[in-house]
Symmetry: C2
């Protein structure tokens, strides 16, 4: 699955008055010494979060468009919003005619820089909130503007907030503490490991800004952002000090205080100094003021430039992936066990759902929305259920071809015996995070639907069963998922897999499987990624087969240069519908893989269904895991 979607009706937001007010603020010297001629409103929050809290939905507030990706820019005369092909339709429906939709990826669409340069008067100032603008974005934008005689200026007070009268509060939910039985490693040991990495690279301070990294480091969870069990915080870790910046009210809870040993630290270097969330800027300034001449401070290159620029350039060491991101990606034995448990429970819920759907669909009463709700209902019956891990993509027939579809009342289709149904959904349990896609037909799929499903299945198996050397980067596996589709002249326009957190974000770095060769880190045993090739036929149907898989050691016949080999072990254990397969198109090896996978589903999930006494789902599972010839 991917990205936050609309759940509002598709009528344009009226923005005349808002834009008038914003333009007044752009001239208001309360905010800066000289007026600015343009103001950039990015999508994100101050933590590079993919999902954001309502208080951070500033771009949506100003233009009405609520997709996951988009940047708005307002000048004295113009208002324009850039987004990508997934959102052209949605954005055009949600924005009124004060806004120009800038369709990214089309040849005629100018870049933000080029557009600004084309519309701005000479020597203009372009403002942006430096907290939510990444350091690398700043560099590119300021360089482009400077080359045309303009300048990019940091506006400390967010101008959207200034005109957003009913802006929601920043959430401050209760913190959940996780013990060793869930995390496998105390936060103290994680700090010690972090410091060892810092020592190794001669780094004196590390600034943590990504919310999932901070949650992972301190073995704490929150619910500040929907679907992501994180909480708003920063952390600055030195060799002898640990600073945590968080709404202090949250630390009045005795469980949290005790977990963090706030009142009785075990050792002085493991004592946590807590400060208000907002204090990070001044405290980091104080840290930087006291730096020795050779001291170095680590910060992610995607962190906001407000914090990045606090660190003097000579002391700054910017990295693509922080040591926490890398450590978090490799799950320990406890986390792996938790993920396995979570996936078994999740499979129980999905077996129940599919058994229920088979019974209910003929009545004509099940819709995309009610099916997704029912899936949530079944999941919520499982132990340690916390919530969904992303908005369910529940799509029937042509809706399935919209890769980032989310059912809305006005698009909601009824499940039937005549159309393909694609369900991409997942949950947060206290022991792990799930993300699974199954594509099924409740009547008789056409030969063409089966053919396409089988290409996708071949791709899924090719990745899942691949054996590859230790140190291989995920992008080198991407073509395996496409080879069968390519041979038939087909393809899909998304990556094949993303990293998955353990009771954390369902999308996490630094590994993945994609044709885009972003700076992914080599795969290693203990990493967890999704394997989700697909095929989408506009106006007809969508197919995706997604398992979450664990990277494990493999022992092939030889061991070239002693490098060792890896392969994947599926954590997701939900049958793949044999009815959708053209089994004649499968090789013997592929048939064996399907049968072996279904045997595992039956053994593991079947036992749990029996234990939970869920008879109908068990019968469904038995039937759906019969071996193919």
């Amino acid at each position: 699955m991917s990205s936050l979607e609309s759940d509002k009706a598709m009528s344009p937001k009226l923005t005349v008055e808002l834009l008038r007010q914003l333009r007044l603020a752009m001239k208001n010297c309360k905010y800066f010494s000289e007026p600015i001629q343009a103001y950039i409103i990015p999508s994100g929050d101050a933590h590079q979060s993919e999902y954001i809290a309502p208080c951070d939905c500033r771009r949506e507030f100003i233009c009405g468009f609520n997709g996951s990706a988009g940047t708005a820019i307002v000048t004295e005369q113009h208002a324009a919003m850039w987004t990508d092909g997934r959102y052209f339709l949605q954005a055009s429906q949600q924005m009124d005619n004060n806004w120009t939709l800038m369709k990214m990826g089309l040849k005629e669409t100018p870049s933000q820089e080029d557009w600004l340069i084309s519309v701005l008067p000479e020597n203009s100032k372009v403002g942006v909130d430096p907290w939510i603008f990444a350091a690398d974005q700043w560099k590119n934008m300021s360089k482009a503007l400077a080359s045309a005689g303009h300048s990019l200026v940091a506006v400390q007070d967010n101008l959207i907030d200034a005109v957003w009268l009913d802006r929601p509060q920043r959430p401050s939910t209760q913190l959940m503490t996780l013990g060793l039985e869930r995390t496998g490693m105390s936060w103290q040991d994680k700090i010690t490991a972090l410091r060892a990495k810092m020592r190794e690279r001669k780094i004196n301070w590390f600034v943590a800004t990504a919310l999932d990294e901070i949650a992972w480091l301190f073995n704490l969870r929150g619910s500040d952002i929907e679907y992501n069990p994180v909480f708003f915080a920063y952390s600055v870790v030195g060799m002898k000090t640990i600073r945590l910046f968080v709404d202090l009210k949250r630390l009045e809870d005795p469980a949290a205080r005790q977990h963090l040993q706030l009142d009785a630290p075990s050792r002085p270097e493991l004592s946590i100094q807590v400060s208000p969330y907002e204090a990070v800027h001044t405290e980091l300034q104080a840290v930087c003021a006291a730096l020795g001449p050779k001291d170095k401070v680590w910060i992610c290159d995607k962190a906001g430039c407000a914090l990045t620029q606090v660190i003097p350039k000579t002391h700054r060491s910017q990295i693509s992936y922080t040591p926490l991101c890398l450590a978090k990606a490799v799950k320990n034995a406890t986390e792996i066990q938790g993920m396995k448990t979570a996936h078994i429970k999740d499979a129980v819920a999905l077996c129940e759902l599919f058994a229920w759907l088979e019974k209910e669909i003929p009545k004509g009463t099940v819709t995309e929305i009610s099916s997704a709700d029912k899936a949530e209902d079944f999941r919520s019956q499982q132990k340690d259920f916390v919530g969904l891990s992303f908005p369910s993509i529940s799509s029937v027939g042509p809706n399935g071809a919209i890769i980032h579809y989310r059912p809305l009342p006005e698009t909601n289709r009824t499940l039937s015996l005549n159309e393909v149904y694609l369900l991409d959904s997942g949950a947060q349990y206290k022991d792990g995070t799930t993300d699974v896609t199954r594509t099924v037909h409740f009547g008789t799929p056409s030969a063409y639907e089966k053919e396409c499903f089988t290409y996708v299945l071949k791709g899924h198996i090719a990745v899942s069963a691949a054996i590859f050397p230790n140190g291989t980067k995920g992008h080198l596996l991407d073509s395996f998922a496409r080879a069968a589709l390519w041979e038939a002249g087909l393809d899909y326009l998304h990556g094949t897999g993303h990293g998955v957190g353990c009771f954390l974000n369902v999308h996490e770095g630094p590994c993945g499987i994609s044709y885009k060769t972003f700076a992914d880190e080599p795969l290693e045993a203990g990493m967890i990624v999704s394997d989700e090739p697909g095929y989408y036929e506009d106006g007809s149907f969508g197919i995706r087969i997604e398992n979450v898989v664990l990277v494990v050691a493999s022992k092939p016949k030889y061991n070239y240069m002693n490098r060792g080999s890896l392969t994947f072990e599926p954590l997701t254990l939900v049958p793949m519908q044999v009815k959708m397969m053209n089994t004649d198109m499968l090789t013997q090896k592929e048939r064996d893989w399907v049968n072996d996978y279904h045997r595992q589903c039956m053994e593991t999930v079947g036992a749990e269904l029996r234990r939970q006494g869920r008879k109908e789902a068990l019968d469904w599972l038995i039937r759906e895991t019969q071996p193919i010839a």
Copy 2:
């Protein structure tokens, strides 16, 4: 194949006196206002050539090491030379103890920048010849040095040349003109196409520095550099002018004068102004002095910084691949026909060689060197043979495991009935360039050798038979070549393929097939690359199977998003030894591929062998192309 190799005995060069003289030159104010404390001696020439002329082998001259890759740095106290793992042994044998070998890729080896910073006194000046130091290298090195208080300075006179008393002359061989029947496109039309690209990108001038691009543009060839049919030149092309910088003596030849229409240009904008090779710097200065405020000059980012820095930064547009590089990569119908013809002739020569080897090897008189010489002899009998396209890699048994092996008298092994023989060789014909590797056994290969050969063959076929969408980059195909090896725990540590020129360099950009995701351009119909997976077992044997293949349109069942599909057509038509295959390990599809390939070899090359009356080779071909069951 790849890279220039040693053909000299492995005894160290004595460098005491040379280093003394170089250090004197480093203090000699004839060359600069202040002495320099270090001097960098890169490998290359002023044209980013992979193969270089003897006069440009400055790094070899100063340290004795003659491998294809290496950088020497001399300070007042130290002399160090960086090279990679291919050359550790060779470099240690060729350099005396005045030199420290810096083994790149080992953790303990400092980078050139770090090493310089660690050994230089404060405020040092580091010199380099800006002609042979690329603009992007300059940027990195000068930044690193500046951060430690040193500076990088351009030394216009090359200090090696100053102490190299018997330095060879820069070659100035006769130019060969190629007519339309060989090139398919006149140089006038190429200029017009280049100008159209320039207009499209709003570029006013283009500076060509790569020798193969200049040879391609003007439909001229030379023999200034062994194996590469190029000639030393620069070219600067504007919208109305064409400047060619070349040793003017070469243009006294009436054929060249007429070809370039020097005496009677057809149209004024196609009139070529010729100037001496050395005049490019001053002439480019003159061009730049006359630039309008918005004028832009294109230059490759790998061009030497001497020329790059002539172009004022605001007018400079640096590109990874020039429009000539891109245009040259897509062969036209005439070039494709020429390449096919060349490959048939090349296959004739190799059929003769293998038939001859079968007869001669039992006598015990054939060595790696004599086999390579015989191959050259057979090739030279073919029409329009010009020379080899690279030094033949002719290797028996354990020598085959040395990927960049070249037989030397002291390593020369005798071909026998007991060891695997790998021959990677190719030639330049006036109609095309070839590059082919075959791995054969003249006795009975072991089961293990056959097993490994078959994995490599599976990889070769997987790439050759792959169908993929238009616009796919070559690096996305690399894993196809490895999948079978990986499944057995094996691999090879080189890329899978490189671009191949048409009667030009055997290695050319911008496309290739490699796990290294360099900035390769998407594959398109008409491009020509090699497909050469391998497997190397240290101390035992080496296996590589290499064909040159043409990118062609493919018509699979469907055509997703109207993108069209591509696949490869082998140009190389030399049988792959069935004796080396474990045919039980092949799928039916793979067996069909082998039989189909051998049928093509038989039809096409067999006809030519018959025409040329080469009976023994024909008998060999008939036997070697028998279908497998």
